[in-house]
Amino acid sequence: MDQLLATQVKEAIVSCLRLPLAPQDIADDIPLFGEGLGLDSIDVLELVLGLERSFGVKITDEQLGRRVLRSVTTIVELIEQTKGQVPATPN
């Protein structure tokens, strides 16, 4: 996993949800919701909008959201996957 990208994702999570902790306190695989980081359903909307704003990824349906918004690792995977789908810009 791209550690630089993971750090950026953690920073985005802390910033857009105004979490009372430091980005480095979030482990890569800790569950974001419920037990774990303790986020709740109200955070989902902010997180989806924040990830779109910061990384250009669109989480368009609930099924995708459930799969992706599990941990930092699953979010990074989606961003990497999305990047791979972007056609190379011609020079």
Partner: protein
């Protein structure tokens, strides 16, 4: 027969400190909450002081994960609500308790932040949760959600008289059997733009370039100083308090509401509206002016209101007919001032002491009232509390402090 309405708890998050006893201790000692503004820059302002919160740590009252979603007004409301509930030993998670909050500025911090984001970064940058905090009733709703208070939930925006409007409404609600208790009163926090607009409109002292201060009824008064704080009480039917076995600080005997129909942002220019509402509250309480031991005035260091209210007090009580106190010399002017006055009246008179009117050093002969300039002994336990909003909305309470202080009865 209507049930009596008693005050069984008080919660103060104030410019004089945290908790009702601390608030009243410092008020009676002549402390002031007014000091130089440090929470934002007052560069290019004419005024530089306000009554700012003292010793307030929101983290003492709310879990950090919840705190991140609550703006300044909500934090004040939640903290004052918790203090009032704890003080009254009031059961929570019930349909029987409601919330009535008065505020002039709740939601303003979030509104300013929201609009700033929208203007500078566009609609995708704004926070969904931030938006919900921009709504004026967010603070009252947060109190309901946090403590499970499922009775009537109402917010009043009556500018400087907001808290008194809330307490008057809650009193009526209890008399009508709408709930067995209400957490009610006011919250207000100073937002930078709010301060700057008032400064620019020359509402704040100094309006005339003279020294800046809050000086109710003083010859040199020259505008208001803004205040901050959350002042909530638990208002309860006497039957409910008796059932629970809790001692009361005192009783709300009567309420009066009315208006002066003056200009939108103007103070009343003649006393008849204030007179009418005071007389309505006295009649509702079943007492005469001579029964009242102190009047807590709305006077806020503005040339007009102080003079007109003084004329109204003189008409009802006779010139110098009752000791008059204004807390705004110590606390400034804000929407929660009526809640502060209710706590000061009940706790202060329960101790047999009237608070001082800070800032009144040269009483204005055009204000024919006996201003209580220093803390002094009270001759009794009945108080009248006035609240006036610019625009003319007028509220009045008549209250009686318990003859034995609650703390002593608890012991």
């Amino acid at each position: 027969m209507r049930d009596n309405v008693v005050v069984t708890g008080a919660g103060c998050v104030s410019s004089l400190g945290i908790g009702a006893e601390t608030f009243v201790d410092r008020l009676l000692a002549g402390d002031t909450g007014i000091r130089p503004v440090t929470t934002f820059s007052t560069d290019r302002c004419r005024s530089h002081t306000a009554a700012l919160l003292r010793d307030f740590d929101p983290g003492r009252f709310l879990d950090p994960m919840k705190l991140r979603r609550v703006d300044e007004g909500g934090r004040l409301a939640l903290a004052a609500c918790r203090l009032a509930i704890d003080d009254a030993c009031l059961p929570t998670r019930t349909d029987e308790v409601g919330v009535v909050l008065g505020t002039a500025t709740s939601g303003l911090h979030s509104t300013v932040a929201h609009l700033h984001k929208l203007a500078t970064e566009g609609p995708t940058a704004v926070s969904a949760m931030g938006f919900s905090n921009t709504i004026g009733n967010a603070a009252a709703s947060l109190c309901s959600i946090e403590f499970g208070l499922r009775g009537p939930n109402v917010t009043f925006g009556q500018k400087q008289a907001s808290a008194l409007a809330a307490i008057a409404f809650a009193t009526s609600g209890l008399r009508q059997g709408r709930a067995s208790a209400f957490v009610c009163g006011g919250v207000d926090d100073i937002e930078e733009r709010f301060f700057r607009v008032h400064d620019r409109l020359r509402v704040l002292s100094p309006t005339d370039g003279c020294q800046e201060a809050s000086r109710p009824f003083d010859l040199r008064r020259n505008g208001i100083v803004l205040g901050t704080g959350g002042h909530l009480v638990v208002l309860e039917t006497a039957a409910s308090a008796a059932r629970r076995g809790v001692a009361a600080y005192g009783e709300v005997l009567g309420v009066g509401c009315g208006g002066s129909a003056c200009g939108l942002s103007a103070w009343p220019t003649e006393p008849s509206g204030i007179v009418r509402v005071m007389r309505a509250a006295l009649a509702d309480a079943g007492v005469t002016p001579s029964d009242i031991n102190v009047a807590f005035a709305a006077a806020n260091s503005t040339p007009t209101l102080d003079r007109v209210e003084a004329l109204a007090l003189a008409e009802v009580f006779g010139p110098g007919g009752v000791p008059v106190v204004s807390l705004k010399g110590a606390l400034g002017e804000f929407g929660a001032s009526g809640g502060a006055a209710l706590t000061a009246a009940l706790v202060g008179l329960g101790r047999g002491t009237l608070p001082p009117t800070l800032g009144c050093e040269q009483p204005d002969p055009a204000c024919p009232v006996d201003v209580s300039r220093c803390a002094r002994r009270s001759r009794g336990h009945l108080a009248l509390i006035n609240g006036t909003a610019d625009g003319g909305a007028q509220f009045c309470l008549v209250v009686r402090a318990a003859s034995v202080p609650r703390v002593e009865r608890r012991a």
